[in-house]
Symmetry: C2
Subunit: 403 residues, 2 copies
């Protein structure tokens, strides 16, 4: 193969979008489901709260009985019972009656508001109310949180801790989630011999786990056609990523191997770094070919593999956030490729600046550590000038202070 006919980035995404993959599901206890993706809309099977509840500690009253109540002119109501979050009221309030109750307690019949304890003083079997309340004040209405049929999660959303709380409230105990795993295989004699340490595969495993997807590392294999084919065939994950061997050289075996046992969807993209990124299908299973160099692999993962997983499995990842910044140094795109330039963001006089890092090799992982964002230069642009306002995609948790 050669790399004289690289495809454009958008074209790679189009080819990805045309592929279909099966979605497997696994039903989990909701308590173990945080971070997973739901396959269907999750709706509430019940109304919550099921009845009016007190939002505070105090006294259930008829709001009309408190009209014009004040410290100088308190309303005096008779206490006819006490209710906690565990009680079922067995009485009904009549005029000038009240019930002591605690947060979460069911509102008794005849009551339509709750006076906070701080605004009262109990005197024997009566309570003095010092402040008037509005109708339904301090009451959490039945169904205020969830009505039966309300959507808690949309298909493909990732379950957060507050979704978990809502599912528990709604009485949901189990939830069907996406079951997908990615297998990673690394090729390279230099990895097998130990002369070069494999930093790319562990990084990919961690990146995939952070997305909420299982990842398995299947080891380093030598640059040997039979070894690699055997290793590929033994992997039963849904998607495979092979690192290394993706280039155009004679020692780069991946292209020919995928051609031999499957088909190439694309190989070689006009992006920098990540130019040698490829995608094949072997027995309907997607196999990504990524550079063995960590930064090239990181850029390809973020911009090719991640959107592919989202599309194929119908899930939504948190989208990378962007900030606007002023470029401190010109960037030239001489090669008509899409460039991912690592930049260091900083603030000065209330403005945000992006300082492009000077690096030569696509393997320089420290550039990602020193950077807190990257700038995408589209392949049809000649670059950006010093002083241009650009959009920067954030890496990690850089927090711009809003000027």
């Amino acid at each position: 193969m050669d790399f004289k006919t690289l495809i454009r980035y958008d074209n790679a995404l189009e080819r990805i979008n045309q592929l279909k993959t099966e979605r497997r599901s696994v039903t989990l206890s909701v308590k173990e489901s945080v971070g997973r993706f739901v396959l269907d809309d999750i709706t509430s099977p019940s109304t919550f709260p099921p009845h009016d509840r007190s939002a505070v500690d105090g006294f259930a009253v008829k709001f009309e009985d408190t009209l014009s109540a004040s410290r100088n002119n308190p309303a005096s109501l008779k206490i006819i019972g006490t209710l906690n979050a565990d009680s079922v009221p067995k009485f009904k309030l009549q005029g000038m009656e009240c019930a002591r109750l605690f947060t979460g307690a069911m509102i008794p019949e005849g009551s339509d508001a709750v006076v906070m304890q701080e605004d009262t003083e109990a005197v024997g079997d009566h309570v003095l109310v010092f402040k008037q309340v509005r109708k339904f004040q301090n009451i959490m209405r039945a169904g205020e949180d969830l009505h039966k049929g309300d959507i808690i999660l949309h298909e493909g959303e990732r379950i957060t801790p507050w979704h978990l709380a809502a599912m528990i409230e709604a009485g949901i105990e189990h939830v069907k989630t996406l079951d997908v795993s990615v297998g990673i295989l690394s090729t390279g004699d230099e990895l097998v011999s130990g002369r070069i340490k494999n930093s790319t595969a562990p990084m990919l495993v961690a990146l995939i786990n952070n997305l909420g997807i299982s990842a398995h590392f299947h080891g380093n294999v030598a640059d040997d056609r039979k070894n690699i084919v055997d290793a590929l065939k033994s992997i039963d994950d849904d998607v495979i990523i092979v690192t290394g061997g993706s280039g155009p050289s004679s020692v780069d075996l991946m292209h020919d191997i995928v051609l031999e046992i499957g088909e190439i969807i694309f190989h070689g993209i006009r992006i920098k770094p990540g130019r040698t990124t490829g995608l094949g299908l072997v027995e309907q299973k997607p196999i990504f070919m990524l550079s063995g160099l960590p930064v090239a692999a990181l850029v390809a993962f973020d911009n090719i593999v991640r959107p592919a997983l989202a599309t194929w499995f119908g899930i939504q990842f948190a989208s990378g956030r962007e900030v606007k910044a002023i470029l401190t140094r010109s960037i030239y795109n001489n090669d008509g490729v899409m460039m991912f330039v690592r930049v260091k963001l900083f603030q000065e006089n209330g403005r945000t600046y992006a300082d492009p890092l000077r690096t030569t090799g696509s393997g320089v992982i420290s550039s990602v550590i020193r950077a807190n964002g990257y700038l995408v230069v589209r392949d049809n642009l000649e670059g950006y000038k010093d002083g241009d306002e650009v959009k920067v995609k954030l890496i990690g948790d850089y927090n711009e202070n809003i000027p």
Copy 2:
């Protein structure tokens, strides 16, 4: 106790900052360290790459031998050897000589640039070079990524996948990380009886895990002084969170229990929701008292517990991101408290708007699901007006498109 003397939010943080806690550490294999926090600066013990390496597949040359090379006037160089990422060169380039080499290969003595394979054509034992190269072009210089002593992670930073890659490159195999766990205990007869499901504790466990800290749930206990004291004393986590029983009522036992077996640092804050939030110390161990209602607990966790953990353990959490938005409806702060108002952000005509959700109870978890941010109204403000530009803290992964 009563809640007539609530303290201000800032005052609660000051009291938190005055407390000291011990930091325990655990040494982990770097591959298991992603998501953990480092206790010291992590510096590179070695220089990486240790020697000049090729960033591409091609030919190692003397750059001077390629001057003015073009397709019409190629330079013809003699190939004297082949190097892959695993080879140690045993020769030195003389004038008009070159070596075939692959990405990652060590640059042989005498060479100072690499010509990409695409810009060459091999003819027998010679290669025609069609493009001139600059000095050091396509070479990843020794130490370009990391010099010995370079800081990979600063004290208190959270380890990301790319930090992992850098540590592996640098030859770091183990790393000392923070070992801290939070124990959660829930109180309430209504939870023990099962009349009300505990959604708050599992949510807190998930929130804490998402921060990179271990969390253990120690069950629901009845509103009984002895039960609660026994349960508290059996917990050996570094920090305890008790949900429920934090209010001012007679059924709320936590204040008196903490007073009895320890001391109260504060209890009751002028925030809404989350007013009943408290902090005590029992045998030097911090015990947070949080509402049993999920949203009040969530707000208190985010704004009290989270900054406390960061301060006490010297670690940095990703700071919540903020966006500017235009308020669609006025918000009134009648009570002089600090309000956390859930808002729904949306875009219209290139502007971002924040629509405050109408809710009464602090328990309405669906307000967090429907919201994608919250607006903080400081206690010295009377509120915000419809049309005001406000800062909104993001919940989850709302991504504003930059207008």
